[in-house]
C-alpha cells in the first residue's frame, strides 16, 4: 500500500496522553490510576469536533482568503500527512485511527509512544512551566498535575497550523486534557480523555471533545516508517518519486 493510500485510509491520527506515577503519599495517591499500557481510540464511543466549529469572524475571513488564493488543492500531492509530516495537537488527540499508542509512566514523566509517525509525547508531572523561550513543536510542551483521580494535562507551545489547515491554530493555542480511567466493560478498561481546545484567535469559545481510548492488551506498538515507499522504490529501480529532489 502506498504512503498516500495508507494515509487516506487512516481516518487518522493519534492519540495521546498520559498517565503518571507521582511521588506523593497522601490519601489521594490511592485513587490515582496508572495509565500505562497500549491503547487504541474507540471509534464507537469517542466524540467528534462540532460540525460547525465556532471560528472567529476573522479566522473565517482568513480561511476564505486562503481558499481563494490556493484552491483547488491536489491532496494526492499537497497533503501534509501524505508528505509524511506528522500530526499536531490537538488533531493527534481527537482523530480516530487504527494505530495504537503506548503510555509509559515513570515517576516524573509520562511518555506516549504513538505508532503512526512514531511520535513521542513527553508529559512532565508536577513540573515547573516550560521556559518562555521554548520553541513550538507539533506535540508542544506538556505539564500535568493530579486533581483527585484525574490527570490534568495542559499543553502549550504547539506548532502553528496555517489558516488553510483542517485545524488552524495560533500561538495562543492551549489544549487541556482531563484523563480518567474507566475499569471494566468490553475492553477491560478505557481511558476517558476530556479534551478542551482553547484558542481565542481561532475559536470564539473553547471546543470540547470527549475521547475514549480502549485498552489493547495484546497489541504491540510497531515500527512505523512513513517514507518507506521512497526507499523501496529506489531499491526496485522505479522512477524516483521523491518530491524534494
Amino acid at each position: 500500500m502506498s504512503t498516500a493510500t495508507r494515509t487516506l485510509f487512516l481516518s487518522c491520527a493519534l492519540a495521546l496522553t498520559a498517565a503518571v506515577t507521582p511521588a506523593a503519599t497522601d490519601d489521594a495517591t490511592a485513587a490515582r490510576p496508572d495509565f500505562s499500557g497500549v491503547w487504541l481510540p474507540n471509534s464507537k464511543e469517542s466524540g467528534h469536533w462540532p460540525e460547525q466549529r465556532p471560528f472567529t469572524k476573522k479566522m473565517l475571513e482568513l480561511r476564505a482568503l486562503w481558499d481563494k488564493t490556493n484552491q483547488p488543492i491536489d491532496f494526492t500531492v499537497d497533503d501534509d500527512h501524505t508528505s509524511c509530516l506528522p500530526y499536531t495537537l490537538p488533531f493527534m488527540l481527537t482523530t480516530i485511527t487504527q494505530y495504537p499508542f503506548e503510555i509509559v509512566s515513570t515517576p516524573r514523566r509520562m511518555y506516549v509512544f504513538t505508532e503512526v509517525y512514531g511520535q513521542i509525547r513527553r508529559i512532565d508531572v508536577d513540573a515547573p512551566p516550560p521556559p518562555p523561550d521554548t520553541l513550538p513543536t507539533r506535540t508542544g510542551s506538556s505539564r500535568a498535575h493530579w486533581e483527585g483521580s484525574q490527570l490534568v494535562i495542559e499543553t502549550t507551545n504547539i506548532a502553528q497550523e496555517n489558516e488553510g489547515s483542517r485545524f488552524p491554530s495560533s500561538p495562543a493555542l492551549r489544549v487541556i486534557e482531563r484523563l480518567s480511567l474507566q475499569e471494566g466493560g468490553e475492553h477491560g478498561k478505557q481511558i476517558i480523555n476530556e479534551v478542551t481546545v482553547q484558542d481565542p484567535q481561532v475559536y470564539e469559545k473553547p471546543v470540547a471533545i470527549r475521547m475514549v481510548y480502549k485498552w489493547a492488551k495484546d497489541v504491540t506498538v510497531s515500527e512505523y516508517v512513513c517514507e518507506q515507499d521512497l526507499w523501496d522504490q529506489h531499491l526496485d529501480g522505479s522512477t524516483s518519486k521523491i518530491p524534494w529532489r
Binding site: V104, I120, L135
Partner: protein, 267 residues
C-alpha cells in the same frame, strides 16, 4: 587513513550543534581519559542499574574499528562498491536502524526504563525519532521475526549490566555511514553498564558485538560511551520537513537566478 578510522567523524548539523551546546552545559564536552578507565558500577550486583535519562555520545571515546575487519567476500565487495547517494537509506529519510543508531556517535540517546521494558530513543540530527523497544520481562526472542529497522530485542539484567540481544534486522540498513553492511543473519549483543568517571560523572558504556556469519568471518566488537546529560532534551524533528525546506530554498534561489538572468538580457 583507513575507511574505519574516518567513521566516527560525522558531519555537523543543526541537531548536533544543539546537542553540543547542551553537552557543553552539562560539562560533557571535556576530553576524556583512557576508555573504560577504572570505574565502579553505580548499582550493586543483582540490582538493575538506573539507566534512565538522556545520554550524549562521546565521539572522542568511541572505540575505533579494527583496521582489518573480518569481512566475508560478499560484505567486502559491498563496502568497496559503496556509494552513499545510492546505498545509504538515510539519504531517503530512512532510519539509521540498529545497531547504527547506537554506533553513530552524533545521536543523543534517551532511555526510558520500567521494570518490564526499556525504551531507547535515538534522534539522529533531529530527524525522525527511532525507538527501540526492549522487553526485560523474561520473554524469549521470537524464532524468526520480520526484518525491521530497529529489529526485535530482548533484554536481561546480569547484575547491574543490561544485556540486550537484537535480531530481525533489515539487511538494507547499514552498520556505518561508510558502507559497512550486515546480512539478515545479524545478531547484535550489547552489554550496557553505568560507570562513574572522574572526568564526566555518570557514563553509560555500550559494549557492542555483531555476530553475522554471512557478513563477518568472526564477531566484530566495539564500544561506545554516552555521558549523562540531565539538562538535555530531545526535540521532535522530521527528516522530510527539513528536505522540503531545503527544496523550497533551492527553488526560490533558482527563481531569483532566473529573474536576474532575464533582467540582465533585457538591459
Amino acid at each position: 587513513m583507513s575507511t574505519f578510522e574516518r567513521m566516527s567523524t560525522a558531519p555537523l548539523s543543526r541537531g548536533w550543534i544543539v546537542v553540543a551546546l547542551l553537552s557543553a552545559m552539562s560539562g560533557c564536552g571535556k576530553t576524556s581519559g583512557p576508555a573504560g578507565a577504572a570505574n565502579a558500577p553505580v548499582a550493586a550486583n543483582g540490582t538493575p542499574a538506573d539507566i534512565a535519562g538522556i545520554w550524549l555520545p562521546d565521539p572522542n571515546r568511541a572505540e575505533p574499528w579494527p583496521a582489518q575487519l573480518p569481512l566475508t567476500q560478499a560484505a567486502r565487495a559491498k563496502l568497496e562498491n559503496f556509494n552513499a547517494t545510492e546505498h545509504d537509506p538515510t539519504m531517503f529519510c530512512m532510519p539509521l536502524g540498529t545497531p547504527r543508531n547506537m554506533l553513530q556517535t552524533d545521536t543523543p540517546l534517551e532511555i526510558v526504563q520500567t521494570p518490564k521494558q526499556v525504551f531507547m530513543v535515538v534522534q539522529p540530527n533531529l530527524a525522525n525519532t527511532e525507538v527501540r523497544r526492549i522487553p526485560t520481562d523474561g520473554s524469549p526472542l521470537p524464532a524468526s521475526p520480520e526484518a525491521t529497522w530497529y529489529g526485535t530485542s530482548r533484554g536481561r539484567w546480569e547484575g547491574s549490566t543490561l544485556v540486550v540481544e537484537t535480531v530481525g534486522l533489515r539487511p538494507d540498513a547499514l552498520v556505518s555511514g561508510n558502507g559497512l553492511t550486515h546480512s539478515e543473519a545479524l545478531r547484535v549483543v550489547e552489554r550496557l553498564s553505568v560507570q562513574q568517571d572522574a572526568g564526566h560523572g555518570k557514563v553509560l558504556v555500550d559494549e557492542i558485538e555483531l555476530n553475522d556469519p554471512v557478513a563477518y568471518e568472526q564477531p566484530v566488537k566495539t564500544r561506545r560511551y554516552f555521558v549523562w546529560a540531565p539538562q538535555a532534551q530531545l526535540r521532535e524533528g522530521t527528516c522530510v520537513e527539513e528536505r522540503w525546506i531545503d527544496k523550497l530554498w533551492r527553488d526560490r534561489l533558482a527563481e531569483h537566478a532566473a529573474a536576474a538572468r532575464k533582467a540582465g538580457k533585457s538591459k
